[in-house]
């Protein structure tokens, strides 16, 4: 794969470059995998809360604990939650909706936007397990070393996001919700398996063999929606330019390699792009510990670097 040109051209990489090595000890491995383990716990935990409420009648405050699914839900009978992208499509489609779902969508929107929009993608979305598995398979068997079978621009997802809204407006129904493989996977895991899992299988094959990070990194309009909002997110990966040797290991594990632009990261002392899913892979493997999770308000811009690098423009 291509490494960003900034990788080689940036000054300050005079120190010897150490690369990441997976520790031999179990404790060391667990430490490296800590964010991945935490993400799986959250992903399956959310699924378990929904499934427990649906199938085993789990309750809180005398009401169903977490009824519904990721499209719309009700927590403890009082707190409505809803997928803001689905609601947006319905509104664009000209459907009037009752207040509950609008409140739920607003709450969800504010919560995820504050966290950093695509936190949903890496920590909650069930499809992430599928695409991470495909990524693992790719690396394990060296499929990733060869060229992608298809060339899909990473911004295709924003086009799909726009097309989803246009088709919603034209047809009068929520266009992406009608064929969303994400919603189908989650729904059918909870309510019974139909052909919805074929979508997940298709995405697995796409990601494993055709396009590296094909679905989450190139196509998913829901991810594009959250990425658009993620720019103002508060949980960010902070970047310490002084200790970074530009070894590029973070770029190799990152599902959105474009966000790791060292020039921009040095100037802003963090990974600012909305596409960052806060999966923590880079944080866990950085041999110099130059990357860490931090709240945006706690990230301090280096005074010297503030004007050293322009923040505009991509790295390709």
């Amino acid at each position: 794969m291509n490494l960003p040109s900034a990788l080689t051209s940036t000054p300050g990489a005079a120190r010897p470059v150490r690369h990441f090595e997976m520790p031999a000890s179990v404790g060391g491995r667990l430490r490296v995998l800590r964010f991945t383990i935490a993400r799986r716990l959250v992903q399956f935990g959310v699924l378990l809360l929904f499934a427990g409420t649906l199938h085993w009648g789990w309750q809180a405050l005398g009401a169903p604990l977490l009824a519904g699914n990721l499209s719309a839900a009700k927590f403890a009978g009082v707190l409505p939650l809803a997928d803001p992208f689905a609601v947006l499509q319905m509104l664009v489609a000209g459907q009037w909706l009752v207040a509950e779902v609008l409140i739920g969508a607003a709450l969800t929107l504010v919560a995820y936007t504050l966290l950093g929009g695509r936190v949903f993608c890496a920590w909650v979305c069930p499809m992430n397990v599928v695409t991470d598995a495909a990524f693992w398979l790719r690396n394990r068997f060296g499929i990733g070393a060869s060229e992608d079978l298809l060339r899909v621009p990473a911004r295709a997802r924003y086009v799909l996001l726009a097309v989803a809204l246009v088709v919603s407006a034209a047809s009068g129904v929520a266009a992406f919700e009608w064929l969303s493989p994400v919603a189908m996977l989650h729904r059918e895991l909870l309510y019974g398996v139909g052909l919805g899992l074929t979508g997940a299988l298709g995405i697995f094959l796409l990601d494993a063999f055709a396009v590296r990070h094909g679905w989450c990194g190139h196509l998913c309009p829901l991810g594009a929606f959250w990425a658009t909002l993620g720019r103002v997110g508060q949980v960010k990966v902070a970047f310490d330019d002084a200790s970074c040797t530009r070894c590029g290991d973070c770029v190799k594990v990152c599902p959105e390699p474009r966000v790791l632009h060292f020039g921009q990261a040095a100037a802003r002392a963090m990974i600012a792009a909305g596409e960052c899913t806060a999966c923590g892979r880079c944080v866990a493997i950085c041999p110099e510990r130059s990357l860490s999770f931090a709240l945006r308000v706690r990230v301090r811009r280096p005074p010297a670097a503030a004007h050293a690098e322009p923040t505009s423009g991509g790295n390709r």
């Binding site: 519904g68 997928d83 509950e100």
Partner: protein
């Protein structure tokens, strides 16, 4: 990138997006017009229902009888929306309509007032397999109907040759909610009474027909009626047919 390359790239991108968008639109439209399964009580008209349902399954969880199921991908109907199959589990017409109460979007009216006003479908009878129509005193559908006497009644029907009459069930569309309990309980191998989308079976007379022996007050442009409650509008003066104009029909008929 010079201007020419930019224009070409823009055209390629737009064409790809438009191509995908049109395919997408065709798929969505096709699904929107596909066969309609039976919906929970208080549902909006099908097209709006399918468009405003967020597919969360809260109604499915609220149903105490496990009547409602989310339509699975590639089953008839929009995937993820709630529906029921009466022969498996009918709607038992809960008085408080819990499924509609929990709907977050209003695809099912959360304030739906009265379960008897629900129109989930319409029961229709196949006389060829209905036991009552074969001369047996079955009438199970009549007995199990929650609106017995209003939605289904049993009427006496003369039978050819035999001196014994038939007693056959008749469904009244003005009261049938489409709950499907009749279909569930029908004793024939395949139910002889079934709940279907009313649009598939109901006709419409049309306002231009004047039915003899029926009060015509309901018709908007009704002819002058003799009902005393309503002041008769001035009769439209009609030019009387010229004498003898239509008499040729009766020529030679009178003794």
């Amino acid at each position: 990138m010079d201007r020419r390359q930019f224009i070409v790239a823009a055209a390629q991108g737009s064409a790809a997006a438009a191509c995908g968008g049109l395919l997408w639109y065709a798929l969505v439209e096709q699904q929107a017009r596909a066969a309609v399964p039976l919906r929970p009580p208080g549902a909006r008209a099908e097209r709006d229902f399918a468009a405003s349902c967020i597919k969360c399954g809260l109604c499915v969880q609220a149903c105490p009888y496990d009547t409602l199921k989310l339509v699975k991908t590639a089953e008839p109907g929009v995937a993820g929306t709630p529906a029921f199959t009466p022969r498996d589990v009918p709607c038992y017409m809960c008085e408080n309509i819990p499924c509609a109460r929990v709907c977050p979007t209003g695809a099912l009216d959360p304030q739906f007032p009265d379960i008897a006003k629900a129109r989930m479908g319409l029961a229709v009878i196949d006389p060829e397999s209905c036991l009552s129509w074969q001369g047996l005193r079955c009438e199970v559908c009549y007995r199990v109907c929650p609106l017995r006497g209003k939605a289904i009644s049993v009427v006496n029907h003369p039978r050819q040759i035999s001196k014994h009459a038939l007693f056959v069930p008749v469904v009244h569309s003005d009261a049938c909610t489409g709950c499907g309990i009749c279909e569930k309980k029908c004793p024939t191998e395949v139910a002889a009474i079934r709940v279907v989308d009313p649009k598939l079976v109901q006709g419409r007379i049309g306002a231009h027909y004047r039915l003899g022996g029926k009060p015509e007050a309901a018709a908007p442009e009704a002819l002058p009626s003799t009902a005393p409650s309503k002041p008769a509008p001035a009769p439209t003066p009609r030019t009387p047919p010229p004498a003898g104009a239509l008499d040729y029909l009766n020529r030679g008929a009178t003794p």
